[in-house]
Symmetry: C2
């Protein structure tokens, strides 16, 4: 890595308002509170909790989640799983149909290296490719059947299809059937529970094991108990929270642990301010919003448009002068997970001072 | 940097269809043609050309642009400029109001290190801060007045304001007035030329120098000659091109040098395919489109939605079966510059084989 980035990272003890912008900063106390709150909820409902590391991509935070009581972690990529296995994480679920050039060999090595590795599959093609890759493996790979319970992404379409695919998995000598998994729609209406309980019943009737029923999603994290068939829940965003989570009612602004710090670099007109954070700091993710983040001290200011390194604020609803050139703004991003993926390092702080500068170890790991 | 990324990059000579996905790949022959075509146009119209490196963030490509005849490069960040100065680029324009903690000291060092460094300013606050930082510098910093000629981002609002700010710059002992600069609106309607020619005339009448009139933008790159006051033009995207450039009429699909390779990992329904490229590979930039890229072999397939690591294709307009699980798709992204900023490495190819794997040196340099 170039030293151009690392040379200008803030030293421990630097006041937060002296950190060079744009920069993603993380409130340590809020992270601790968010980790504990969700773990307490899962414990209270007897749900095993398996946080998704896509949000932070930082092994030390995964260990913090595990120490709080999580049973393992969730990744989306073999390369991400590698990064966390390298730092001692021993129970990893990769919620992805792993296919394509160059993926199976590292997956095999990873399976031999960690105590428990699990992947998902939603088609015969995925199962056959995994089966071929693991036929002569010293240790079988555990596979869950991915079910589309309304999320409209991957997954078999009906419980009977889950049974069919489970049979295929069970028939592969290199694979071990581990159960079922879903990435649910935002609002369940009972359909998630119906699908999962029907599928599990069909597997069990057929004499197939279904020890794991893995449900997921942060926006509905505190409704996870409404899917009683689930044995475990996955969530990622809750550790930092973001504007979308506040809108979903899952947290308040004071629970948002990530901010993007940005400096006002221009005030061309009464109604326009320009900040040094654009789509390469905040991302273009709207998640249903019409603007690009919540400006903490100026909630009436709208981040109306982004170019790559500029954010244009519409101040027409702001009373008074609005922020001045040189002011540093704290912005809660729409979607925290994609912001983590832009920065090689994030800055942790407590009581207004930098406590750590942490590499985002799994940033940009794409395969 | 973690070796998890570098361990699994393709070797030189690998066939393109054996490259692990998702991956941004670059067609070398198309890059050469794009570089030459725009340089030829600028030469034909007597315009100095100053390519913006935000698109590729790779020093070797900047040198290719300079060898073709570019006079220097454009950056948006001090850290980007550092990365290119470290690789021997000697004429750099940073088109940004440089303000905020920790920026001025590295800017001073950079100014002493390269032959020609220029920045822009659109306010007294920016000029005063630069003036203070460079008051006792051994070499003055060249500053252009940024003008808002309709782009609605940064810039003084009227030619008279440009004159006022030019006077301020000229009065600072550590600064040198270099002229004026604009980031124009997509469609000029003559307003860009009027603003720039009026501002230059006012500076010259006041006895102030205005050797540089810097215009910019790729979508209108082949209309650059319609702003005769400009002495130089800046453009970035033209080196790779993308879907937005095809829509703008500035190139054809065969001029698009960047593709994102993605594998079809799921076919849950007749009308839905899921690929392993989501917003962490394609970005959420829509740029006015309603979907997230152009699928080269399946132009009727719409990349209807992205989550972080999944792209969901709507195949309802596709005749026949559509792509199968395991197929590798070549996608022209909506906006190439932001895709470059996601990948630590890009893969160059020629005649269907990998020729180089190149670190994206200035990726993630944020300050």
């Amino acid at each position: 890595m170039s030293t151009i980035e690392t040379d200008f990272l803030p030293a421990v003890g630097t006041p937060l308002d002296a950190v060079s912008t744009p920069r993603a900063v993380i409130d340590e106390a809020r992270v601790e509170r968010n980790v504990q709150r969700v773990q307490d909820y899962m414990d209270a409902h007897g749900l095993r909790f398996r946080p998704h590391i896509k949000t932070h991509k930082i092994p030390a935070l995964a260990h913090q989640q595990l120490e709080a009581g999580a049973v393992g972690i969730t990744c989306q990529k073999v390369s991400e799983a590698e990064a966390f296995a390298s730092e001692g994480v021993e129970d990893i679920l990769i919620t992805f149909n792993i296919l394509g050039p160059g993926k199976h060999e590292p997956l095999r090595r990873l399976n031999e290296r960690v105590a428990r590795l699990t992947v998902v599959a939603d088609s015969r093609a995925t199962v056959e490719a995994l089966g071929a890759a693991f036929r002569d493996a010293v240790k079988p790979l555990t596979v869950l059947v991915e079910c589309d319970t309304g999320g409209g992404r991957c997954g078999v379409q009906a419980p009977a299809d889950a049974l069919d695919l489970a049979r295929r998995i069970a028939a592969e000598p290199g694979l071990r059937l581990g159960g079922i998994m879903t990435f649910p729609p935002g609002d369940a209406h009972g359909s998630v529970e119906r699908f999962l309980s029907d599928a599990r019943a069909m597997l069990e009737t057929a004499g197939l094991p279904c020890p794991v029923v893995s449900n997921g999603g942060t926006p509905g994290v505190f409704q996870a108990h409404l899917v009683p068939s689930a044995t475990e829940h996955r969530a990622g965003t809750y550790i930092y929270n973001d504007r979308s989570m506040v809108r979903a009612g899952a947290c308040g602004w004071d629970d948002c642990a990530m901010h993007v710090l940005a400096t006002v670099v221009s005030r061309p007109t009464r109604e326009r301010a320009v900040i040094d954070a654009g789509s390469k700091a905040l991302t273009s993710d709207l998640l249903g919003f019409r603007d690009y983040g919540h400006v903490e001290d100026w909630p009436e200011a709208r981040i109306a448009s982004l170019s790559e390194e500029h954010g244009v604020l519409d101040l027409s609803a702001v009373t008074g002068e609005g922020p001045a050139i040189g002011d540093v703004l704290r912005i809660v991003p729409n979607h925290t997970c994609v912001v983590s993926n832009l920065f090689d390092h994030v800055v942790f702080h407590r009581d207004g001072r930098v406590t750590q500068v942490v590499p985002v170890a799994a940033r940009g790991l794409v395969w």
